[in-house]
């Protein structure tokens, strides 16, 4: 394994290298590594994986490393599962409760105030810690990398694999450092930053890579902001996104229920301080952005890479030379019901959704409430606020934010994935246009025929009170 002298050679390692090496149970000659999973997060889409286990006569090997909360199939207008109309969908949430109970896996169920979107609950509970290797059967598991963990989404067969063995085969991805320097101007948020990054590198721009977000802009982001940025790493195709842990991270995690305490906490922080990438560590690729160039962003198409500053116009297919790309853009504009050359700030919306694992944390709700305060949701617009967890909801209510939203005409709902993908029935009706703080503007993502524009919580609140996509800055 190591060199005979026992003295490690001076190798400059990235944070990703360090976390990867700490979790490598064995590496085969063909380059496949068996990785140990510290934390396995489960949500109510896990039923097929448990079924695979049952068919093989297997049970979860280390249930204490798994943690479950239902989010995809839970109702958000009440806490009664019966509110979900389709029995098949209700059964998904029920299956998680049954499978977790049978395996001895801790679960925050619907009646528990700590229930919520699994990617909000993990960090909130301190289940997500620096240096950990975390997996979950959901692509937005990249969120948890914001604390300096290596976290990535897996499919159902891999969920079954991890349940049965606590390990997973992976080939080591390449590394990409995205360096952002400078200050984000007022009215520009982490969501604008990640949309600008994806617009720059493309929806496959980070495929096969683990991204480390670095630079003064990233350092000055709050934990909530870092979670938003890492959350959408998958929308650039990345395997995972990471931010080096620092005092912001430790201040956020200290005292969280599942974080270490006392001397164990001090020892953990001392360990975590060695996690950041070594100075001059080599990355396979590097991309640089200037925060000063970033404006409030909004997507116009059906891929998160199709994002523009709010003062831009809907692009014109006629200006695209390549015939196939031109046809693709025409198809997109037809689906989105947009005419080329229309200023984005003149696009009227029917719905506003403030929620999802991208933007439903307390800071997001504070910013949105700041815009909504003293204003009214525009006539004909239906606007929802869906907190990311029961605890986010309780915190927001303690601060009176629910009054602000309700007085402005927003619906104040219960925690869940809700209208990000509509698995629980919370859908955007066909043909309607939704300003959404979620992560995907795919065809049919929020419901068949739905038209999604991704933006920040501040921009979403601005869209709600003006009835159109609009620059939030004059409203701040």
């Amino acid at each position: 394994m190591s060199n005979p002298s026992g003295i490690a050679p001076r190798v400059r390692r990235t944070m990703f290298d360090k976390v990867w090496e700490r979790h490598a149970v064995l590496t085969r000659d063909d380059g496949q590594t068996l990785l140990y999973v510290d934390r396995h997060l489960l949500q109510d889409g896990s039923a097929p994986a448990f079924e695979m286990l049952r068919q093989r006569g297997l049970t979860p090997r280390v249930p204490q490393r798994a943690f479950a909360t239902p989010d995809h199939y839970v109702p958000t207008d009440s806490r009664e599962l019966e509110r979900v109309a389709e029995p098949e969908k209700r059964r998904m949430a029920q299956a998680l409760a049954d499978d977790s109970a049978a395996a001895g896996i801790a679960m925050f169920g619907l009646a528990d105030p700590r229930q919520g979107i699994v990617h909000v609950v993990g960090p909130e509970q301190g289940l997500t810690l620096p240096g950990m290797l975390i997996v979950c059967g959901d692509s937005h598991t990249s969120t948890h990398g914001a604390v300096g963990a290596l976290a990535f989404g897996i499919g159902a067969t891999e969920v079954a694999h991890v349940l049965a063995t606590q390990v997973l085969w992976q080939r080591k991805p390449r590394t990409l450092r995205i360096l952002v320097e400078g200050s984000l101007a007022p009215g520009i948020y982490a969501k604008d930053l990640i949309l600008a990054i994806i617009a720059k590198i493309g929806a496959a721009g980070a495929a096969g890579h683990v991204v480390e977000y670095a630079g003064s802009t990233v350092r000055s982001l709050s934990m909530e902001g870092r979670l938003t940025v890492c959350n959408m790493s998958i929308e650039a195709g990345a395997r995972a996104g990471m931010v080096a842990p620092d005092d912001t991270t430790y201040a956020y995690l200290a005292g969280r229920p599942y974080a270490p305490r006392g001397a164990a906490w001090d020892a953990a922080v001392a360990r975590w301080r060695s996690l950041p990438s070594d100075e001059d560590a080599a990355f396979d690729r590097e991309v640089q952005l200037d925060a000063g160039d970033i404006a409030p962003m909004v997507t116009w198409g059906n891929s998160p890479e199709e994002a523009l500053p709010i003062d831009a116009c809907v692009p014109d297919p006629a200006s695209v030379a390549d015939a196939e790309r031109r046809a693709a853009m025409e198809r997109t504009l037809d689906y989105m019901g947009l005419a080329p050359g229309t200023p984005l700030s003149q696009v009227a919306v029917d719905r506003v959704f403030i929620g999802s694992c991208t933007n439903a944390r307390i800071e997001d709700l504070r910013v949105a409430a700041g815009v909504a305060r003293g204003r009214r949701v525009a006539r004909g617009v239906e606007a929802w606020v869906v907190p990311g967890s029961g605890l986010v909801k309780a915190q927001a209510e303690a601060e009176g934010l629910h009054h602000v939203f309700r007085e402005a005409g927003f619906q104040w709902r219960h925690a869940g994935c809700s209208m990000c993908l509509g698995t629980n029935g919370d859908q955007v009706p066909p043909g309607q246009r939704c300003a959404s703080t979620s992560n995907r503007n795919f065809v049919g993502r929020q419901g068949p025929g739905s038209r999604t524009h991704l933006l920040s919580p501040a921009m979403a609140a601005a869209a709600a009170v003006t009835g159109r996509l609009t620059d939030v800055r004059p409203l701040l």
């Binding site: 097929p48 995809h72 098949e88 059967g137 390990v167 495929a207 698995t423 995907r440």
Partner: protein
């Protein structure tokens, strides 16, 4: 898992980039049991219009492609959600391979665990393949895993790379969980060492 060795079949051209897994199988079918025929949900909202009628512009509805078993698409096929149902939908419809310049990482990983081969070929080669398929509708493509070679309708051969372990699992129809279970002693040693390090 059914082994994948060599397949000659009609190839379905989808001349689009970023075909996400939400398009391959919409979220409203994710609660369906694996015993369902997910082929019925494949590209559901692309194949059918809002009024329930078939969309004649989507190639899968063309009789020439009803027996297609290979998909050829542009970059980033299968991006987005981790839903393994996307692979199940392709598989249940009869597809066993997809050829594209790149794939969503999680989709590609899911595919390999279900006897479905994701083949990465260079962007110009895929563009050429798509052109050939557009010119001769219903043309066959051959994917030979052992030889790591794709044979285009014009007979040209294109070598592709694949992870050695993934190749073996596909060729032999190996079950990865069963294999890893034979290594649990090493996992237990790792756990013992890790808990020593933490205390």
């Amino acid at each position: 898992m059914e082994p994948f060795t060599r397949l000659t079949a009609t190839a379905l051209p989808i001349a689009r980039a970023n075909v996400d897994t939400d398009q391959i199988v919409p979220a409203r079918y994710l609660q369906k049991p694996r015993s369902d025929d997910f082929g019925a949900y494949l590209f559901r909202d692309l194949r059918f219009r809002a009024d329930g009628g078939e969309n004649p512009d989507f190639p899968l509805n063309d009789p020439a492609y009803r027996a297609a078993r290979i998909v050829v698409a542009e970059r980033n096929f299968g991006c987005g959600s981790s839903r393994e149902h996307a692979v199940w939908a392709l598989y249940d419809h009869g597809f066993r391979a997809a050829i594209a310049p790149s794939f969503g990482d999680i989709f590609a990983s899911n595919a390999l665990k279900n006897g479905f081969l994701p083949v990465r070929l260079g962007e110009p080669i895929v563009a050429e393949l798509l052109e050939q398929l557009a010119a001769s509708k219903g043309a066959a493509v051959t994917v030979d895993l052992a030889a790591q070679t794709v044979y285009a309708p014009d007979g040209s051969a294109h070598r592709f790379e694949i992870d050695g372990f993934a190749k073996r699992c596909l060729l032999e129809g190996l079950d990865e969980i069963g294999y890893t279970l034979t290594l649990l002693d090493k996992v237990a040693l790792f756990e013992a060492r890790q808990s020593r390090d933490q205390t």
